[in-house]
Amino acid sequence: MKKENSILRRVFEHKYFTLVLVLILIFIVFGIITGGIMFNPINIRNILNLTTITAILTCGQACVMITGEIDLSCGAVGTCGGVALGWAVTNWGLPWWVGILFGCVVGLAFGAVNALLVNQFKMESFISGIALYSVAKGLGYTFAGSIGIALTDSVLKTIGSAKIGKAIPVSVIISIAIFIIYGIILSTTKIGRKMFILGGNRTATRLVGLNPTRISYFAFMNCGLCSALAGMMYACRVFNATATGISSEQFIGVECCMLGGIMFGGGSGGMVGAFLGMMIINVFNNGLSLTGVDPYWQVACSGIILVAAMLIDFLNKKRQNKLMIAKMNAER
């Protein structure tokens, strides 16, 4: 009896308990409202299919947020990456893989500039991100023009729409794989640990002999790279490198991370939380679509769910803090 109690308790006190509960609740509620369509395997595949771009953006943003900064340029930088790919392949006639490399270089360059502004010129990443967002957006418009650059390369087209065994889209596998890879990076590698240390205490980072600037460059350039990959993925999916691309997605990564417990200020959270956060947003949006809610209302609703989730998390933290203080007093 007692043992069961303690297992239950551990489940309750687990940091992802609230997130999993919310995810399951949303899933069930919409399942009932839609009369079961929500649970249909095809629908589940659709949910996952939509996540690829979000997943890549979330992983990039997660690293930056863990170091205590934020990258608000990611959407527009992604668009630029897509345009760079289109420009290289369609306008210059280069092979598809060179185009992808070129897109990656553009993303890395934006990340490096962002890191430069934040680390060397001590700018708030919030500001530098907004500035670079505008720069990247403008460049996207300039080079893509109003109709965008059509992607005709067959390999690129396949990347956007390939399926394994007729059922599982390649993009779903990419989403899952990227979460696993970043999960491993953050929890087991040195650079992952260093990012947590930097976000936890920048002064201490330097005083234990680590190089805060170098770690920060890694996080920002990684985010630039992820953004570019996401932008190229989008361009491949619609067969066109458009001027708007994924520019409107600059907040989605931040939302997923924050829902998943990667807080502003850095040093906390992990990929499991970010994944759950992303799934909550996607399942919720999918549910709204299925019930036929007006798309504009959907946008408003996703803001509301973010606030609601943060509120639950806030209350949960407050409770845990109380428990911690009580425990310390008891020890004394």
Partner: protein
């Protein structure tokens, strides 16, 4: 009407520390009363009680015979008390008049501020004190001294009868001090109660009428300034019996060769620092807060760049460009502020201990080996008797003493080859038991041949643990004392030498 302020049996306990104990004395209006004592004597705690920042204490505060208990700083202000701290409480983007009348702006029509009135009243104050500033000057553009004047005018405007200054001259130049003293005397001549906290002996004799001496949270004596001497004051500030915390310590008696030498090292914060350190030696850096002790340590550790001068380490000239450079050569620093600079509070003991040795506990060059990392952390927990159920406990949840031991464990694990250990205020805010353990460890490190630099504001620590003591003041070395010359009087005399 003669004004007076009286403290009756004031006591205050912080977790683990008795900051004030049974303090009773009286101060009269029309006199400047100095409050003196070593760091930790209880002066600031007393000021905080007076300013309403601390509201749970024992005993009574009486003003003109009436008991007052201030729950908030606002209560104290309403009872016409002003405490002027070293860190000025001004809004630097606003101008002089807005700062002076901050919480009591003269109103005009439609809830707007009556600017003419504001300007006129401020100008009256400025004229009264004879200061060369305009009401519309932005406070941030004024010199530190004038900012302080603004603060004084603010308390004057509030019609404060009791005005306390906490080390007001620290950032001022000589001419600025003259202006400040003229203002303080003006306040005194109007019959106000002026409390003056300072470490500077010459100022005490120049301006104050009476001196109240405190030590270890207790009231020692109140003397008329004219009837005392510097030596007598220092004796009263120090005269305490040293507990037997130091009695059983096995100190290292065999010093090795000199392995660190600073020759006229200058950084942005300290100048002309020269010192030597032998293997197995414990070298103390003493001085008042802000004397340049921490900054000297930071220069050696590569945290502040050395502008000129030489550092010779293990026989070679070495100028660390970053803490990493220094760490690679076996120099370690346990910083002054454990929570802000030392620990990553949200991380476990294990991850805190392994932070500087990530490269040495990794596999395949990229992954952190949980097994090796745990081994290092387990050893640290065992060696330094860190009280915790597991190495995965978050360091935020540990007591101060255990947090300090985690930092010691970080630098003294067998993965780091520390040859020079710099300890900056290692016993600050930790309890007596933990202090004794830290002392024991310091002696143990010295016996292993490690050179230790100990920075501490507790004079007894420096005197009882160090083989040599270097005393600093205002970023300069004012003297060096060998173990047998080290007494609290000697150290304090050098620390206050101008």
């Amino acid at each position: 009407m003669e004004q007076y302020l009286e403290f009756q049996n004031i006591g205050k306990t912080f977790p683990g520390v008795q900051a004030l104990k049974d303090v009773s004395f009286r101060m009269d209006g029309g006199k400047i009363v100095a409050l003196m004592g070593e760091n930790g004597a209880g002066k600031s705690t007393l000021l905080k009680i007076l300013s309403g920042e601390i509201n749970d204490y024992e005993g009574k505060v009486l003003i003109n015979g009436v008991e007052h208990h201030f729950s908030t700083p606002k209560d104290a202000i309403n009872a016409s008390i002003s405490v002027i701290y070293q860190e000025r409480q001004l809004v630097s983007q606003m101008n002089v008049m807005e700062n002076i009348f901050m919480e009591d702006l003269p109103g005009g029509k439609f809830g707007m501020v009556n600017m003419n009135q504001l300007k006129k009243r401020t100008q009256e104050l400025i004229d009264l004190f004879g200061i060369n500033i305009r009401p519309t000057d932005t406070v941030g553009t004024l010199s530190v001294a004038y900012q302080q004047m603004v603060e004084i005018m603010k308390s004057y405007r509030r019609d404060s009868h009791i005005i306390a200054f906490d080390e007001p001259t620290a950032p001022l130049t000589d001419t600025e001090i003259d202006i400040l003293f003229r203002l303080i005397k003006q306040l005194r001549d109007e019959g106000k109660i002026v409390i003056y906290v300072s470490h500077r002996m010459n100022e005490i004799f120049r301006i104050t009428d009476e001196v109240v001496i405190m030590k270890d949270g207790r009231f020692v004596d109140k003397v008329a300034t004219a009837e005392t001497t510097e030596a007598e004051l220092i004796k009263k500030m120090v005269g305490r019996d040293i507990g037997d915390t130091y009695a059983g310590l096995k100190r290292n008696e065999h010093l090795g060769d000199v392995f660190l030498e600073l020759k006229n090292v200058t950084t942005d914060y300290v100048s002309d620092i020269s010192l030597t350190l032998r293997k197995g030696e414990v070298l103390g850096l003493a001085g008042l807060a802000g004397a340049g002790r921490t900054e000297t340590a930071r220069a050696i550790f590569g945290a502040d760049p050395i502008i000129s001068g030489k550092m010779i380490y293990n026989g070679q000239e070495f100028r660390p460009k970053s803490p990493k450079d220094a760490i690679d050569k076996g120099i370690a620093l346990c910083p002054e502020d454990r929570k802000e600079q030392g620990l990553i509070l949200n991380m476990s003991i294990c991850k805190n201990v392994s932070a500087p040795v990530l490269n040495k506990v990794s596999t395949m060059g990229a992954f952190v080996s949980r097994k090796e990392e745990s081994a290092v952390a387990e050893k640290a927990v065992e060696t330094y008797a860190i009280k915790t159920p597991t190495i995965d406990k978050i360091t935020k949840e540990l007591s101060g003493g255990n947090q300090q031991k985690v930092i010691l464990g970080r630098w003294m694990s067998d993965k780091v080859d520390t040859k020079l250990l710099i300890l900056d205020e290692p016993t600050k805010g930790i309890d007596v038991g933990a202090k004794a353990e830290v002392y024991r460890m310091i002696c143990e490190f010295a016996r292993q041949g490690i050179g230790v630099i100990l920075i501490s504001s507790e004079l007894t620590e420096v005197i009882n643990l160090c083989d040599n003591i270097i005393v600093l003041h205002n970023g300069h070395i004012t003297g060096e004392l060998r173990r047998e010359e080290a007494t609290e009087e000697n150290v304090l005399t050098l620390a206050m030498k101008d």
